[in-house]
Subunit: 573 residues, 2 copies
């Protein structure tokens, strides 16, 4: 395995050996280690001294189910701290098949030209790009696939990334040519600041990673697959309804943040629920279940068509539907699907965008519930108008532009989909994750709401600190393996699933890791990330929710009632 | 003396006794003590839990020369830290004559209505204000003076404050009905968030403060006046040319930041210099020298007329002329004077505005040197357009909106008028002041450039830490006395001037302070402010200049070369 170091100041690419201390790392563990080692925590995130890291997970391109995630790392222009954002799609597996452990992208071109990067078995080619600058991600993927073949992997930014908007994401082509997103924290702005429009990855003439013990690996992968099939969430709920199954669940729990976090239930929940989504997709001959990368067994994605049966969007997630839906009081799935498609196309994090539109509605830019207004706002982002530049920089930025004080963010990143007052374990994750408010960083909805991995009453403080801490540690390890976070549902309830992950890692690399080693890996990742943030100027004061969460959240009238000392215990390990 | 506590949530005002621990405080010492005691450091600066403090200095309304400054304090929406911004004008003296030690303005109206506050010898009246909402400060002052008499004191916000833009200032009427500004840190946005359009202060039927020892006071005041007359800067330079005398001086020193801090000299310096300003004012029958408050002996202000002899602006300062001039490559005093007037009228900090326009030019909104474009941009702020909302939130905000990385700010506040690489003592003040980048917080230009209070080579690191530290301590004390900072020129060179300040304080209050006590007061103020900032999440990482100051600054090719350890020594006292 090797590292490609691509320098945009000099337009060079060199191959480097993987240093010994990085050999046992992958995914988030590796991207965060590289950022921590090579990036000045006080650098401007859009300047020449920030670096963009691409790192497939440790199990990437093996037959391990659901191991196709690509970690993208940098100093975040949204939070000012370290960021790892991961996505499905085919890029991770292709990079691994080319023997690439990580790509480090550094520097900044001296002029204004954009570039494209082509990675194949011969190496790296950097070329000035003119045709696709200004184009949306769908067109980029289509055109690059025409040029290099349908199977080519693509990482791309839309207009939002070109404008260096701090809510811009990086899109990853999936096997069907649709878009997945390394969504959060403005990784698209970092790619845009380095003036890279797209990266094409051609893994022709390559082979999968070597396995030290193939037989043992296959047995473990099989056991892992069995656990994923067996668990109700990964085997049935997610495959049938996708993540949007959560709309009704969260609404009934009173924790579906509605109208910019004013209350926890939404009158229009039924119209945007997973069940309604499923029926609509079937009626329009879309695909209710669909995989975002080769080897995915959960297939939580789907293909959503318009009433005429034309493709609108894919990877249509609960958090997006929540945000444009309940968050903005819009109960029209077709409007929300169009908004999701526009976000994917312009390369804007749909979660940040949804929280932002809620704040813009709070500030009176458009009224709550105005679906056409929502689409108009996204079109302003696409155009890069001044309003678009406000919105494209996220919820905190938009709040300040408009003088709005009700702004649901932590570390400058919008809070997604789960009211922290009502799902208190999740609230602790939002408050304390080095990533800023991020539901995937320690998904306490499991034990708080879904009764997966035990049960911790979501409205009580007891047990939440340990829950959030343990989930954040486990998640950091899962993100390092390159596994989809959804494997956690099975891992939390089925001991054999966790053992299988350990066995796969040992069999692939000839190691003798224990479960404790995996946990230690997760802890190390979090410590590394937190140390970077400290060096960037963060303190425990950054681990706090905005003061308006002291208000009661109907219908439970729950408040955010953790003391500072309790919150600070989450990272006490 | 008493405190008025005005609550905008309940539209009430109550009189409170001055607590013992605040009795020996005034100005900045008092405003910072109140903010530190009463404001949650993590509150939203534009929310109900922030407070706006008005505090005249300890010597206010006495015959002490140049003692008319009003301290305005709050948590800053621009920096996120504590802020004291002080201004001349008549408000401080009138509040003191009414027996008011401080006004604490708290809460937030539940609706959208704006209010005006009338303070007189009978108490406080809060009334809904409709007519003047949306109007500029000149009109507000004119109309309020019509209503309450020409002598009424006025504090007001323009459109920028109403929009809660974080570069909005609070304007203070001067004895001639013109405008002075508590400029920096967004105090106007705090006043706007409390929905107060203006505060009228009528000191009819009031008398000056009591003096424990009147005779001793008068003798000390006389000695102080003599020192101010005697010193070349306060007795001759500032009265004749105003602060703009610095254009040629800084240009020759190579430390006049030009074209968004690209170099230290400006081809058009002569056209915007104090000498040219003086000649222009004389030719147009303006006033080359003018006092911003009763009892000012330095009279650094002026009245600048247009070619037809009509009033354009007053209080036309070096930093404003530098910013719109050299910073933006505009060498036309008439354009700059119009920009200054618009800033005053809409209530926008002209320093922050100038740094912001430099960043907007960097981002290509208008070209460098485009004078008419500058005026158009300020008109966008006045209108509250989306571009205006970007610009009105300052340089850091505008940089992020436009994806610009060359953004000269510390703690989110624009760096004024003195290149920190070339005037290194001043750079240390910019880096470390709890106020963010603020030249008045510790004006090392004295010893670095003007050879006042000794000489410390501006291009060398030696002696700068002590210089910045001592000046920051002394300034905190001067700001607490309510003295204009310019008395420091005399104080630094003439020992009798410092003794006179101590004597005046002792004579007024019947104290027996020593010089060390004054220094201790300054240290206490800084410690209080720094503790607030720590509690708000600041660390020593916030005491750093942006990374681009590592670039060389022609013509000296100086760089910012202090180590972190050296910078951190400034607050090591």
């Amino acid at each position: 395995m090797k590292i490609y170091r691509i320098n945009l100041t000099h337009l060079t690419a060199v191959t480097e050996e993987v240093p010994p201390e990085w050999r046992a790392l992958g995914g988030r563990a590796l991207s965060s280690a590289i950022v921590a080692k090579e990036v000045d925590p006080l650098c401007h995130p859009l300047g020449a001294n920030n670096k963009l890291i691409l790192a497939p997970g440790l199990l990437s391109a093996t037959t391990a189910p659901n191991s196709g995630r690509l970690s993208v790392g940098a100093k975040s222009p949204l939070t000012g701290g370290i960021k790892e954002s991961n996505a499905g799609g085919s890029a991770a597996q292709k990079l691994t098949r080319l023997g690439i452990k990580a790509v480090i992208i550094e520097g900044k071109p001296p002029g204004k030209a954009f570039y494209c990067i082509h990675i194949n078995s011969q190496g790296v080619i950097i070329t000035e790009e003119k045709e696709l600058v200004g184009k949306g991600n769908y067109e980029v993927v289509h055109r690059v696939s025409e040029k290099y073949g349908a199977d080519v992997g693509v990482l791309t930014i839309g207009q939002a990334g070109e404008y260096r908007m701090t809510a811009a994401n990086i899109s990853v082509k999936d096997p069907d040519g649709n878009l997945r997103s390394a969504g959060r924290g403005g990784m698209g702005a970092v790619m845009g600041s380095k003036q890279i429009k797209y990266i094409a990855i051609d893994d022709s003439h390559s082979s999968g990673p070597e396995l030290v013990n193939g037989e043992k690996f296959r047995a473990a992968a099989k056991a892992f697959a069995q656990a994923l099939t067996e668990h109700a969430v990964t085997g049935q709920g997610l495959p049938q309804y996708g993540t949007d199954i959560l709309i009704n669940i969260m609404n009934e729990a009173g924790g579906l943040p509605t109208q910019n976090f004013r209350r926890g239930n939404f009158f229009g929940a039924d119209k945007i629920s997973g069940e309604t989504l499923y029926d609509t997709i079937l009626a329009r001959k879309g695909k209710p279940t669909h995989a975002c990368h080769l080897g995915c067994m959960i297939r939580c994605s789907q293909v959503y068509n318009d009433p005429e049966g034309n493709y609108v969007t894919s990877g249509f997630e609960y958090e997006t539907i929540w945000g444009f839906g309940a968050g903005c009081l819009i109960d029209d799935l077709d409007i929300i699907a169009q908004a999701d498609r526009i976000c994917d196309d312009i390369g804007l994090d749909s979660i940040e965008a949804a929280v932002t539109v809620g704040v813009a509605m709070e500030g009176g830019v458009i009224p709550f519930g105005d679906g056409q207004g929502l689409l108009n706002l996204l079109s302003e982002v696409q155009k890069g108008s001044y309003l678009g530049r406000i919105l494209g920089n996220g919820a905190a930025f938009t709040g300040r532009a408009l003088g709005v004080t009700r702004v649901p963010v932590v570390k400058g990143q919008g809070i997604p989909a789960y009211d922290p007052r009502v799902v208190k374990g999740q609230g602790l994750t939002f408050a304390t994750s080095p990533m800023g408010a991020d539901h995937t960083a320690g998904y306490a909805v499991t034990a708080n709401i879904l009764k997966v991995g035990g049960y911790v009453d979501p409205l009580q403080k007891q047990g939440q600190v340990e829950l959030s801490r343990n989930l954040q540690i486990a998640t950091a390890a899962i993100d390092s393996a390159g596994l989809c976070l959804f494997v956690a549902f099975a891992v939390l309830d089925i001991p054999a699933a966790f053992d299988a992950i350990v066995d796969m890692l040992n069999a692939q690399y000839g190691l003798s890791l224990t479960g404790d080693d995996i946990s230690e890996l997760g802890k190390t990742v979090l410590r590394t990330e937190r140390a970077f943030n400290r060096a960037a100027g963060f303190t425990n004061k950054d681990d706090r929710l905005p003061e308006f969460f002291k208000e009661k959240c109907p219908p439970h009238n729950a408040t955010w009632d953790f003391t500072d000392e309790e919150i600070d215990q989450v990272f006490d390990f």
